[in-house]
């Protein structure tokens, strides 16, 4: 049970406070309701590039990092297709420094041409490092547009291509800031060795004066139902063949989200899971294999990714995966097996609550999705899932015409 207090400032900023006395630290996590899905299809990668610019100085504070480091603080941020999340931790005595820094960059950035120029290069190097300088690194650049034809989930957070990032202008940066970065489009969680009264006072003092802004309305295209099997072949300079299968599933807040999450656990969470035991250990078809869900807010993907053992034919490997999926879709799992994955989920939640920063991020996400208190209802939602649910959802998802498959061949 994670206890917290919640209040909203007049300008719409939602604030959540969670006290954890076991740490001498405090975390401030600010989630902005803006992600790669909100980008112009001709300027993809922008939300993430913008995240870099948030560290390039704000209207009254030329350097974000230095004053934070001076008080023993540290920070980082991440962007995904749905949100942009900024977080920092400081020794509890220096909490006000965090409020000072975060409120100023919510008020306005410095918008420096130099910062844009440098961060464009940094992000391009990040693009190369993660997507082109790693074997199999470019998979998402192929798989997302295969699975999505209309919805903006068709591009990865880093963007469709490097030249989109090269084109970003300072005008676009300003425009983006004032349409998406605002107290009424953000959720702040303060967690750790803090108390609610202090957080209330600091929030009023530093964030209270920031004006509400008009947020650009979100109007995302709907992905049409996939009606036929899709596939693509890549020949690349990698040592082994690999296969990537993507199935459409529902939204994060759909009823069956927890069911499908458990389906992925039955298949591949832990060494006793089905595809690890059968395809890696017994049949020696894959050197590694994984099944997981993207967990995105809009209708997401159920993924199966595997690297083939040298000498195994792609068709054999693919057929073996389908055999496991068909089993899920036609035969009920044991009560025991379902209980096992539920136990694992419950245990992971207990361990994840060790970290105050983790709790801060999760509270923010739950609040954005509906209600921070949902964080305390997750176990119950998983416990409710039945063997019939697992069967029905598997049958719904694991259909050939709902599948996009990337065959990734070694040129060797």
């Amino acid at each position: 049970m994670i206890e917290f207090d919640k209040f909203t400032l007049k300008n719409g900023l939602r604030v959540i406070v969670h006290r954890d006395e076991t740490t001498p630290m405090a975390a401030v996590n600010i989630l902005y309701n803006i992600g790669a899905k909100d980008e112009n299809p001709e300027r993809t990668g922008f939300a993430h590039l913008f995240e870099h610019l948030m560290f390039g100085g704000s209207i009254n504070i030329p350097n974000y990092d230095e004053p934070l480091q001076m008080v023993g603080g540290d920070n980082n941020a991440w962007t995904n297709n749905d949100i942009t999340n900024y977080y920092l931790t400081v020794p509890k005595a220096n909490l006000e420094t965090a409020f000072w820094l975060e409120s100023d960059r919510m008020l306005s950035l410095a918008f420096s041409e130099k910062s844009l120029e440098v961060q464009r290069s940094v992000v391009i190097e990040e693009f190369k490092q993660r997507y082109f300088n790693q074997p199999y690194g470019d998979v998402w650049l192929h798989l997302r547009p295969l699975a999505y034809k209309e919805h903006p989930y068709q591009w990865p957070t880093i963007g469709k291509s490097i030249d989109h990032i090269e084109k970003a202008t300072l005008e676009e940066v300003k425009d983006f800031f004032f349409h998406h970065y605002a107290p009424n489009n953000a959720i702040m969680v303060v967690a750790g060795n803090v108390d609610t009264q202090q957080v209330k006072e600091l929030s009023e003092k530093w964030f209270g004066p920031i004006e509400r802004r008009e947020i650009q309305e979100r109007n995302l295209p709907v992905e049409p139902t996939q009606n036929e099997f899709r596939s693509k072949r890549i020949d690349s300079n990698v040592p082994f063949d690999a296969i990537y299968m993507a199935f459409h599933m529902g939204k994060r807040m759909d009823e069956d989200f927890y069911i499908i999450d458990l389906v992925s656990d039955v298949l591949s969470n832990g060494q006793s899971s089905r595809i690890f035991q059968s395809l890696v250990k017994e049949k020696n078809l894959f050197s590694s294999i994984d099944a997981y869900i993207t967990g995105e807010f809009e209708p997401g993907l159920f993924l199966i990714t595997g690297k083939l053992v040298e000498g195994v034919a792609m068709e054999t490997a693919e057929a073996a995966i389908w055999e496991e999926l068909n089993k899920m879709a036609t035969t009920k799992v044991d009560e025991y097996e379902l209980q096992k994955v539920k136990n694992k989920v419950e245990s992971s939640l207990v361990f994840s609550e060790i970290s105050y920063l983790n709790k801060a991020m999760n509270l923010a996400t739950h609040e954005l999705l509906g209600d921070a208190d949902d964080i305390n209802k997750e176990v119950e939602k998983y416990q409710k899932v039945s063997v019939a649910d697992i069967l029905n959802s598997s049958a719904k998802i694991f259909r050939k015409e709902n599948c996009s498959t990337l065959y990734y061949y070694s040129k060797k």
Binding site: T22, T23, P24, I59, N60, I61, D65, E66, Q69, M70, V71, G72, G73, D74, T89, P91, N94, E96, T97, F99, W100, V118, R120, V122, E125, E126, K128, Q129, F132, N133, Q134, P135, Y136, K205, W206, N237, V238, P239, F240, N269, G270, Q271, S272, Q277, K281, N284, S287, S288, K307, V309, E310, Q339, K340, K344, E346, S347, S348, V350, F351, I354
Partner: protein
């Protein structure tokens, strides 16, 4: 609101001391040392069994790692899949790792299932049987992972670097060819297990909710008369042979970035200059505000990241700078790195920068040592040097006393151009970056 001065930083406090949850030392009745860190908010326990069974102790490549991994693959009473089934059902997580001087088995368990999960771990450690089929599968899969990793410029550059400073056959380099996977014998693994996974070769760290019950269960399963093999006391010796050549280029023609590694062999954390070098390292490349990060990333945009690090193995250590940069700026990046090192030798670090770094690292220590699990990792790193976690408090105290003058002296003593090795791995066009000299 009145009186809100947004351009002035609020007052702050510096972290002057780090309060650390202490560890208690205990012995099982067969003398296995047990270190206990009791605390935390969750009803969970982490227990780590550490054996002197690392790369240092192996006679052939891969044996330490394979033995460690194979502990999960079957015992005299349970098959690999039965073991996995039981751990998963209890929501427990087990980790295996083999490093330079030791190998360990770590259990993360809910407190309520600790008795059952501990009994399983005891079975793995005491009764493993190393089945042939599982061994073959692991060899195949590890070999493939090796081949994938060796496509990466950062892996290739790291191997070349450690080979040059420690010597190809030294455990700290730990270099082997992919054909070694075909030469591994199960017999070697079984012998390594028998010789090294023994009570007189073991110590234990327990963290989390540790009460008397936990301790008595550990005593019951690992204490006297339950586990009798003994390791012979052998003193393994490995000589370091550093290369006379100080630079190397590793060609990876299809790479779109090159990895740069610059560094040298140095010393362990018990050396009197270690704390000063830690501070120097921070200033140069040890945190986001470091000079290299600010210059190479935030000023020039050559890279997504650049870091420097001090590594302290038990008997020796090294210092290294690592980055991945676009091929077209490789030479320029190498030049800038040398310029930053030269500045440390020739200019005193300004007082405000020194203060900032000292404040930052104090906060970092507080942040990184705030839970029993994190402290158990810290303790694991300190114990081989005869230290415990009081080391961290002393470290902060000593670090705060380091002056700008001292840092300049250290830079002159340890970071002369002639002392440094330079490795570049990337496409052919980057080769000229290696030819660079002052």
């Amino acid at each position: 609101m009145k009186n809100l001065y947004r351009n002035t930083a609020p007052e702050f406090k510096t972290v002057d001391s780090v309060e650390i949850l202490p560890s208690l030392k205990h012995s099982l009745s067969n003398n296995i040392p047990v270190h206990i860190i009791n605390g935390g908010s969750q009803d969970v326990v982490k227990i780590e069994f550490i054996f002197n069974a690392g790369i240092w102790q192996q006679k052939k490549p891969l044996i330490a790692t394979l033995t460690n991994t194979m502990l999960n693959e079957g015992t005299s009473s349970l098959s690999a899949s039965e073991i996995a089934e039981k751990f998963d059902f209890l929501g427990a997580h087990i980790g295996f790792s083999a490093s330079k001087h030791d190998a360990s088995v770590t259990l993360y368990s809910l407190k309520k299932h600790f008795s059952e999960t501990l009994a399983l771990i005891a079975d793995l450690i005491k009764n493993s049987i190393f089945p042939e089929k599982e061994f073959k599968t692991i060899l195949t899969n590890k070999k493939q992972q090796y081949q994938i990793d060796h496509q990466k410029t950062n892996v290739l550059a790291k191997e070349k670097f450690t080979e040059m400073i420690y010597g190809k056959n030294h455990p700290y380099a730990n270099i082997y060819d992919s054909s070694e996977f075909d030469n591994c014998s199960l017999q070697d693994v079984k012998e390594f297990y028998k010789e090294h996974y023994t009570p007189n070769n073991c110590h234990i760290i327990i963290a989390g909710k540790v009460d008397d019950n936990v301790l008595s269960e550990v005593e019951d399963l690992f204490g006297i008369n339950k586990w009798t093999n003994q390791s012979p006391s052998i003193d393994f010796d490995h000589k370091i042979i550093s290369s006379k050549e100080k630079s190397a280029f590793v060609c990876k023609d299809d790479a779109v970035q090159s990895t740069i590694r610059i560094g040298r062999k140095l010393f362990t954390k018990t050396h009197p200059d270690h704390t000063g070098m830690q501070l120097l390292n921070l200033i140069l490349g040890g945190y986001f505000g470091s000079r290299l990060m600010q210059n190479i990333r935030e000023e020039k945009g050559y890279t997504y990241g650049i870091n420097s690090i001090l590594i302290s193995h038990l008997k020796d250590g090294h210092f290294t700078i690592v980055t991945e940069v676009g091929a077209e700026v490789c030479k320029a990046a190498v030049q800038e790195i040398f310029i930053e090192i030269k500045r440390l030798r020739e200019e005193l670090v300004p007082e405000d920068e020194l203060t900032l770094v000292k404040n930052y690292i104090s906060g970092e220590l507080l942040r990184n040592l705030d839970s029993p699990f994190a402290l158990s990792d810290g303790l694991k790193g300190n114990l081989p040097f005869g230290l415990d976690n009081t080391y961290f408090a002393q470290f902060i105290k000593d670090l705060k006393a380091v002056t700008a003058k001292k840092i300049m002296e250290l830079a002159n003593e340890y970071l002369q151009l002639d002392d440094l090795y330079l490795i570049v791995c990337g496409p052919k066009e980057c080769e000229e970056a290696v030819a660079f000299s002052n």
